[in-house]
Each structure stands twice: as structure tokens, then as C-alpha cells.
């Protein structure tokens, strides 16, 4: 039994989510191969070869893999699926985009967002915004899976010494093309990988307040910044700050929810955090039902106080 893991990378370096996905593969058991598909992705492939527990790296290098377009990447995965019992990718926007396409082309189900491996064919995944956990068993010959990274501790990025095999590129299907990207630039840790997250909601009232109040706190803590959907919708911060059922799923050591009411869709994205701190002026706010430490009061007074106390 061999398992193919689809690496997430930017050609230069491997994304952390790949390490959690390899960890899920290791739980299933069997030889783990990492596919690095990209353009000029030699550095990423070299990093992939060092990942603990990886038996082989498959590198597919061609200009038409640069943009990670779903049509081309899915076709490549399907063309190389032979011999694998499982194909895994992180449940990132990249993995969610490509893997259902792979599954449909293989005529198998896709199992989304697994948080635990019960056996080689049985997995646990959240449904209903995490209000229930379903244990599902697949009867398909190949299991196509996306992995919720918060469910699996990452394997070591170093220590492995896998061979890199180069894969023949498939044709460019030319069904779509990338016109451009607007990526959020930040010196802060990535939301998905941060140990501490400072997250703000509609209670902050404006983009200006969000930045003026939360950035100094995040700076002191070395934290990533996050937000509720309401804060993103109101334009305080870009979309990729959103935590929740339909945003990012995070599980840091500490999650500060500031001016966030705690709607189920928001809780779905952060309730597995180790420690939750809530600051809200409404003592009845649902966020307090999941918070380890709640502070009732005006955030405009409490947040600066907290920042100077750190």
C-alpha cells in the first residue's frame, strides 16, 4: 500500500500544511510519496525529500503547473494515481479546489477535512460546522482525502532523505489561465501555523480601530491576526483573515476573540484552540461559553491595557 500526498508549495518552499498531511498519511500506514507539481519547483522538491517519513518525491516541473490550475493539476494526479491506495492533500483552498476533481475523474468519493484516521478505510470528519463528527467508511478502491491540518501534528521537516524522481508533465489543457494574484503581504506568522492568534470582530467598529488596537497587541505576542466574517465583510481586513466554517480553521495555543460574538460559524473555525480568551462588552455573548478566560468590558479600554501589560 502506497500513499500519494500532494505537496503544497510556492515552488521555492514547502508549505507547513504538507507536514500535517504527511502525518495523516503516516497514520494510515504504508509508503508515503510526495508529489511536487510546479514550475521551477526544484527547491520545493529538495525540501520535500527531507521531510521525515517520505519514501519518494515525484517532481512534475512544467510552466503550465505554475499557477496550480485545478484542471491541469487534477489531470496530472489522475495520470499518476496507479498503484496508490490513498491520495491526500491538505484541506486548504488549493486542496479543496483540486481533490474533488481528482476523485470524480477516478469515479470515487472524496472524503473532506478528515481530523482523524480510524483505519485505512475509516476516517472522522466534522459536519454541520463542527457541531457533529461523522465516522465514515469508504468502499472505494482509492481513497481521495483532504486533511484538516489542525487534526494532525506535523511530521519533522528534516531528517528524511528521499530520492527525487522526475515525472513527465501532462499536456496543458489550456481550459483556464491565471490573470493575476493579490496576495496579502505580512511579516506576521501564517494564521494556520501561528501559536497565538489575535482575532477581531465587528465590535472594533472600523478598519482603523482594528489596526490601531490589535496590531500592537499582536506585535507584542508575535501573533497572527484573524477576523470574523463580519469584520471582513465590513472591509476591516482582507478575506484571508477570516476564521470559521467557511474561512480558516485554526487551533493555536491561544486565541484572542476581541469584539466577536461567537456565532456557530465562527466557533467552527477556532473552538479547538488550546486556550480561548474573549473580550466582549456583552456578558451574554456566546463566545463566553467556549472561552477559558472571559473579560467583560469595553474593548477600547481593555485592549490597550492588555497590550501594555504584556
Amino acid at each position: 500500500m502506497s500513499i500519494l500526498v500532494i505537496a503544497e508549495h510556492d515552488n521555492k518552499s514547502l508549505k507547513g500544511a504538507t507536514l500535517n498531511t504527511v502525518a495523516a498519511a503516516a497514520k494510515i500506514g504504508g509508503e508515503v510519496h510526495l508529489l511536487v507539481a510546479g514550475s521551477g519547483c526544484g527547491d520545493a522538491a529538495a525540501q520535500a525529500a527531507k521531510v521525515a517519513g517520505v519514501g519518494k518525491v515525484l517532481q512534475a516541473d512544467a510552466p503550465h503547473y505554475d499557477a496550480q490550475l485545478a484542471e491541469n493539476i487534477a489531470a496530472l494526479i489522475v495520470a499518476n494515481a496507479g498503484g496508490y491506495s490513498h491520495i491526500l492533500a491538505p484541506a486548504s483552498t488549493g486542496g479543496k479546489n483540486v481533490m474533488p476533481r481528482v476523485a470524480a475523474l477516478l469515479d470515487v468519493a472524496q472524503i473532506s477535512d478528515i481530523i482523524s484516521v480510524e483505519s485505512a478505510d475509516t476516517f472522522v470528519r466534522p459536519i454541520y460546522a463542527g457541531n457533529a463528527l461523522a465516522t465514515v467508511k469508504s468502499a472505494d478502491a482509492v481513497k481521495v482525502i483532504t486533511v484538516r491540518t489542525t487534526g494532525f501534528d506535523p511530521v519533522a521537516a528534516e531528517g528524511g532523505n528521499a530520492a527525487i524522481e522526475s515525472l513527465a508533465a501532462g499536456p496543458d489543457l489550456a481550459l483556464s489561465k491565471l490573470l493575476g494574484r493579490e496576495l496579502t503581504k505580512s511579516e506576521r506568522p501564517e494564521l494556520g501555523a501561528a501559536g497565538i492568534i489575535v482575532s477581531g470582530g465587528r465590535g472594533l467598529g472600523s478598519s482603523e480601530n482594528y489596526h490601531k488596537l490589535l496590531e500592537p497587541l499582536a506585535d507584542k505576542l508575535g501573533a497572527a491576526l484573524g477576523a470574523s466574517r463580519a469584520a471582513v465583510d465590513a472591509g476591516y481586513v482582507p478575506n484571508d483573515y477570516q476564521v470559521g466554517q467557511t474561512g480558516k480553521i485554526v487551533a493555536p495555543q491561544v486565541y484572542f476573540a476581541i469584539g466577536i460574538s461567537g456565532a456557530i460559524q465562527h466557533l467552527a473555525g477556532m473552538k479547538d484552540s488550546k486556550i480561548i480568551v474573549a473580550i466582549n462588552k456583552d456578558p451574554e455573548a456566546p463566545i463566553f461559553q467556549v472561552a477559558d478566560y472571559g473579560l467583560v468590558g469595553d474593548l477600547f479600554q481593555l485592549v490597550p491595557e492588555l497590550t501594555s501589560a504584556m
Binding site: L69, A70, E71, S92, T93, G94, N97, M99, P100, R101, V102, A103, A104, L105, D107, A109, Q110, I111, S112, D113, I127, Y128, A129, N131, A132, L133, A134, T135, V136, K137, S138, L175, S176, K177, L179, R181, L183, T184, G192, I196, R229, N239, D240, Q245, T246, Q253, V254, K271, I275, I276, P283, F288, A291, D292, Y293, G294, L295, E305, L306, A309
Partner: protein, 270 residues
């Protein structure tokens, strides 16, 4: 609208149909309302759906709204809503038609439908209806699968643009801005294509009473999976459904000093 006016309108749409027909198919799923906090059944067989409010999947409302706006802008000529599931999905289709979809198709079955099965049903309908664009929701808020649109695109051999926050159709191409982990990206793709909606694509309108009434008279066709020769048997068996671990209730701290003290000495996280 008087019958004469309706006739004129019909002719008009027929004419434009001939020149630049652009049909949009919108799959809409009937799900537990997003405000409901579901409970897991004691026997672990599933969640309790008895007497629970059901609504259209919020992402599908956004999809219908987008399709209707494209029609109102003169880009699309027809909007067809499709729902797969039990007879009550008719209500979901009526809601779509009240927002502005022209007609509805119900693929009626009591069987459990998983995303691959839905994608196959939708493929059969696409083969028949020949839409230029299919706009799905990005994810159903019950199964949280986030698969159907991508699967349909694969089965059709079409390009896809998931998690759309902006859609433009022109000159046989779709230009779509997508919400991705690091920010935004814009793709251009050939049509036909599948688009899946993200939350910020638009804000769906409320259906007005007159439009709800009008929707009752719009055509609603019913087919069965067998009519489409599709095997909808599930590929995944649900062994059990359980409740997630509850967080133990925390404490309300008196002030910032106490919070910092607890974070340092009790939780030892800073």
C-alpha cells in the same frame, strides 16, 4: 405584467436566445437553516432533523442571486434552478424562482445523496440543458463537503472557478476572482464552466411577496435519478455520528491583571 406584455417578453427572450443564448444552471440544496444548532441523536445514527427549520443552502442563495443579476444585466438569457433530494426540495426551488430563476427542475429521490452522485445527476442535466455556466455554492452547510461543483466540472471536462468573489462573463469567457488562502486570484476561463460562490460575491435579495406569488406559477419539472440513468448509491457509509468534545466552562476574570496572571501562571501560554 399583462398577458400581452408577457407574450412580448417571451418573444424577446426567444429572440435573444437565438442570437446569444446564455443559460445558467444553479444547483440549490435544501439544508438545515444556518441558525439552527443541530443535535446529535443519542443512538449515534445521525443528527436530529425532526421539526428543524430547513432553508436553501446560503451559498446557493448567493449563486441564484448572481445568476439573476447576470440575467438582469442582459448577460444571461435564462436561469434554471435544480435541486436533488426529497419532494420538499420543491420549496427550495420555489425560493430560487422567487429570487428570479425562470424555472426549476427537481431530481426527486429519498435516497441519501453524496456529492459524487449529485455531480452525476447534474452532469446528466447539463448534457440535456446545455448551460453555458453552472453556478454552485462552494459548500453545503450540512455535509460541509465542498466538492460537488468541482466534481461536476471534472465530469463535464469543463474549467472551474471555485470560491468566487467576482464573476464577469464576456466574449465566450468567464473572468472570476477567487478567494484563496493567501488573498485573491483572478482566472480567465473558457465557457462552459463551473463557478462556485463564496460569501462575498453578493448579498442576496429578499424575495418580495409578489415575486413569491409569481414563483408559484413558474414551471417546475420533476425527474427521477433512474430517468437520468444515474446510480446514486452512496460510496461512503456513515458508521456513527458523535458529539464533538465539549469545552469545559471557563472563568470570567475581573480585570486585565488577572487575565495576564492566568495566562502566565495557570495556562502557561505566554
Amino acid at each position: 405584467m399583462g398577458s400581452q406584455a408577457r407574450l412580448e417578453k417571451h418573444k424577446e427572450s426567444k429572440n435573444s436566445h437565438r442570437s446569444i443564448a446564455l443559460k445558467i444552471l444553479v444547483p440549490v440544496k435544501r439544508v438545515v437553516d444556518y441558525n439552527v444548532k443541530v443535535r446529535v441523536k443519542a443512538d449515534g445514527s445521525g443528527v436530529d432533523l425532526a421539526n428543524v427549520k430547513m432553508s436553501m443552502n446560503p451559498f446557493d442563495e448567493i449563486a441564484v442571486e448572481e445568476a439573476v443579476r447576470l440575467k438582469e444585466a442582459g448577460v444571461a438569457t435564462e436561469v434554471v434552478a435544480v435541486s436533488c433530494g426529497v419532494a420538499q426540495c420543491q420549496e427550495t426551488l420555489r425560493t430560487a424562482m422567487a429570487i428570479g430563476a425562470d424555472r426549476g427542475i427537481l431530481v426527486e429521490t429519498d435516497a441519501e445523496l453524496q456529492p459524487l452522485a449529485v455531480a452525476k445527476l447534474l452532469k446528466a442535466l447539463c448534457d440535456k440543458e446545455q448551460p453555458t455556466v453552472v453556478i454552485c455554492g462552494k459548500q453545503a452547510i450540512d455535509d460541509d463537503a465542498n466538492q460537488t461543483g468541482q466534481m461536476l466540472a471534472a465530469l463535464m471536462g469543463w474549467p472551474q472557478a471555485t470560491f468566487a468573489s467576482k464573476v464577469a462573463l464576456a466574449d465566450g469567457k468567464a473572468t472570476v476572482t477567487r478567494e484563496i488562502d493567501g488573498g485573491l486570484e483572478t482566472l480567465e476561463m473558457n465557457l462552459p464552466a463551473v463557478v462556485t460562490t463564496d460569501l462575498r460575491l453578493n448579498e442576496p435579495r429578499y424575495a418580495t411577496l409578489p415575486n413569491i406569488m409569481k414563483a408559484k406559477k413558474k414551471p417546475l419539472e420533476t425527474v427521477k435519478p433512474a430517468d437520468l440513468s444515474i446510480d446514486v448509491a452512496p460510496r461512503l457509509a456513515t458508521i456513527k455520528v458523535s458529539e464533538p468534545a465539549k469545552r469545559s466552562a471557563g472563568v470570567i476574570v475581573a480585570d486585565v491583571a488577572q487575565l495576564v496572571e492566568k495566562l502566565k501562571n495557570e495556562a502557561k501560554v505566554i
